[in-house]
């Protein structure tokens, strides 16, 4: 709709020159950062590159990573999802609370159903009513957090028999020596990456994010495509809640608070532009792992945890300077 009438904001500024070097750097910049950072950390801390440390970091990053996969799909489709933090709280509280009441299988099924329902509400408001995704998901962030608290009455929820339930598998189990959260993260990343890059569905999402108008003029049902991205996002949140609930075997009501921004930070670090129509799951995986390794590396070097945020900021600025390809656009003029 309005997108075509909206003039693209043309900013004066730097011209992309020195094409060769710069384009290589901007294409591979993130990977280079990543490897340099890993190298630096390994010089300062001998545990950093140990297998157990790497596994720990990836396992810790997997919850953010799983959510980030879904949010990346939403972003490629040209929208944003800030409600994932509250949604994660909701789903985790739900699955943990229901576990003792109706058994793990039913709890998981019900949790997925409810999470997808919230995703459908997001998708309906943004896909079909064409409301601005930033504000809608911001509002949902608040509303869902309220719902969680009303549901639980503000109480923590716990699983009583932590040893005896197979529910432990998702957060604590191992398959072939690799932690299940990592496997789930990897599996989802591979599946979604294949869906996005190899299927007609993925192609349509890229089209809708890249030029919603042209997508519609090509007979693509944009509304459904946008709607579906929020279902995918909700599905990923549900998977993350499974891991989180099982890992902690309990949940506080605000367990997902702030995740939405960490997820976005990871995606941005990976180099996916927020404009839609571009990006990949791989980039997001790298971005999320970077976030994890920065945190872990600084911690091992004895810096307090919050120094990671400063480092993240600096890296984002550097990445932004390198990635001038995204320039001359403003996020909110492309999809209102």
């Amino acid at each position: 709709m309005a997108s075509a009438d909206q003039p693209k904001s043309g900013l004066p500024g730097v011209k992309l020159s020195k094409a060769g070097v710069m384009s290589f750097l901007s294409a591979q910049g993130i990977l280079i950062f990543f490897l340099l950072g890993m190298l630096a950390f390994s010089l300062f801390s001998e545990q950093f590159l140990s297998q157990s440390n790497i596994m720990t970091v990836i396992r810790q990053a997997s919850i953010i990573g799983i959510i980030a996969i879904g949010v990346t799909v939403v972003i490629i489709g040209g929208n944003l999802d800030l409600s994932v933090g509250s949604m994660l709280s909701f789903s985790t509280v739900l699955v943990v609370d229901l576990h003792d009441k109706i058994g793990p299988t039913n709890a998981i099924l019900l949790m997925f159903a409810f999470t997808l329902m919230i995703g459908a509400v997001n998708g309906f408001l943004i896909g079909f009513l064409r409301l601005n995704s930033l504000i809608v998901t911001l509002a949902m962030l608040s509303a869902i957090q309220g719902l969680v608290l009303i549901y639980s009455g503000g109480q923590n929820v716990d699983i009583a028999d932590q040893e005896g339930t197979w529910f432990a598998f998702f957060g604590r189990g191992y398959l072939g020596g690799i932690a299940v959260p990592i496997l789930l993260f990897g599996l989802l990343a591979i599946v979604v990456q294949i869906v996005m890059s190899r299927t007609g569905y993925g192609r349509r999402i890229f089209a809708v994010g890249g030029n919603p108008m042209a997508a519609v003029y090509s007979g693509i049902r944009k509304n459904w495509c946008v709607f579906s991205t929020y279902l995918i996002s909700a599905f990923c949140v549900a998977c993350a809640a499974l891991v989180l609930g099982s890992r902690v075997m309990g949940s506080q009501n605000n367990v997902g608070q702030g995740y939405e921004l960490l997820v976005l930070a990871g995606i941005i670090l990976g180099g996916t532009s927020l404009l839609g129509g571009a990006g990949s799951i791989w980039k997001t995986v790298i971005g999320v792992l970077m976030l994890g390794f920065i945190q872990n590396g600084l911690l091992l070097m004895g810096y307090p945890y919050y120094t990671q945020w400063i480092v993240t900021w600096v890296i984002i600025i550097l990445a932004v300077w390198l990635d001038l390809a995204n320039k001359r656009k403003s996020l909110f003029t492309t999809h209102s």
């Binding site: 709709m1 309005a2 904001s9 064409r130 809608v136 509002a139 962030l141 900021w313």
Partner: protein
């Protein structure tokens, strides 16, 4: 329906949010005996002044077509500087706090301007980074003002009017004039409304963007200083999530995320709407959990109404 649409869209520029503000004002007046009193009304003004001050700056940034997510962190940093440096000198402390806000706003503006990367990414990074700097500076500790003079100021009144409320209202007036009367304000609309035409007309986009980021940085810092003066202290977590409430208030006030449209009066309405809702629901003893849901639902409702009022359906291609 047409006449209502005309009313909302017309020259009169009565933001729909003001109708909502008046409605809830009347509603709570009937629902709680304590609501309609001078003391409570000034309380609402003081309580909304923090979000409100930042929202003034954010309105300009958003009319400009940008967004700033780092305001909560700037507020926190300014508050800690204002309290932490008081040992040396009060003037220095406040100057440093406001200076930090201006500087960080300038950095945000500069990066957005020079790279053209959208402000959401740039300021999201800044939000994390500034909070990190704040933690480094404070070592995660709260700071306390050693004497009560500072907090006395924050709690003081001139006549029946609390000083903070006065400051807020004066700033509202100033920003309203800046936006409607100065060429910077008018060019801000032009840049957000039609950047291409603005460039053709020789308006310097980058300069205006940068000024607006500086303004929002300044107001975030000012809000931080005033908030810390209410507390006589500053905590490192101060201002967390405020950016979300500020954006919510500005959007409620009718400013478009796409830029080019919005007003300070509307933003004041948006800020008051949130303040009155919170205050009224507190007085009515609505459980805190429900307040979150109510605010979310209201925000989405406003969006839907806005969509219905502003989009002429038959002229548009259905996409």
């Amino acid at each position: 329906m047409t006449s209502i649409k005309g009313f909302f869209r017309g020259r009169a520029k009565i933001q729909p949010i003001w109708i909502f503000v008046i409605a809830i004002f009347i509603f709570f007046s009937f629902m709680s005996e304590y609501f309609l009193s001078w003391g409570n009304i000034t309380n609402i003004l003081v309580q909304t002044s923090t979000i409100g001050l930042i929202a003034l700056g954010m309105t300009l940034v958003m009319i400009n077509g940008n967004i700033d997510l780092s305001v909560g962190a700037i507020l926190g940093l300014a508050a800690s500087l204002a309290v932490g440096l008081q040992e040396i000198s009060m003037t220095l402390a406040i100057a440093a706090a406001l200076g930090a806000g201006i500087l960080l706003g300038a950095i945000n503006g500069l990066i957005v301007w020079k790279t053209g990367v959208n402000a959401f990414i740039v300021t999201l990074g800044a939000m994390l980074g500034i909070r990190g700097l704040l933690f480094v500076y404070t070592d995660e500790q709260s700071f306390y003002a050693s004497n009560f003079a500072f907090s006395d100021f924050g709690m003081s009144s001139i006549g029946p009017m609390p000083v903070l409320a006065i400051i807020f209202l004066v700033c509202v007036l100033i920003m309203h004039l800046v936006l409607t009367r100065t060429s910077h304000g008018r060019n801000t609309f032009a840049v957000g409304g039609n950047p291409e035409a603005s460039i053709d007309a020789g308006i310097r986009l980058g300069r205006h963007m940068m000024i607006n980021f500086i303004i929002v940085g300044f107001f975030a810092a000012l809000a931080g200083v005033l908030l810390s003066s209410q507390m006589g202290a500053a905590t490192p977590n101060l201002g967390r999530d405020y950016e979300l409430w500020v954006i919510t208030a500005v959007v409620l006030g009718g400013t478009k995320l796409t830029g080019g449209s919005g007003s300070i009066i509307g933003t004041l309405g948006g800020v008051l709407a949130i303040g009155i809702l919170r205050n009224g629901m507190n007085l009515m003893q609505v459980p805190a959990f429900y307040v979150l849901v109510v605010l979310g639902v209201i925000l989405i409702s406003v969006l839907i109404i806005d969509k219905k009022v502003n989009v002429p359906s038959s002229k548009e291609v259905r996409i």
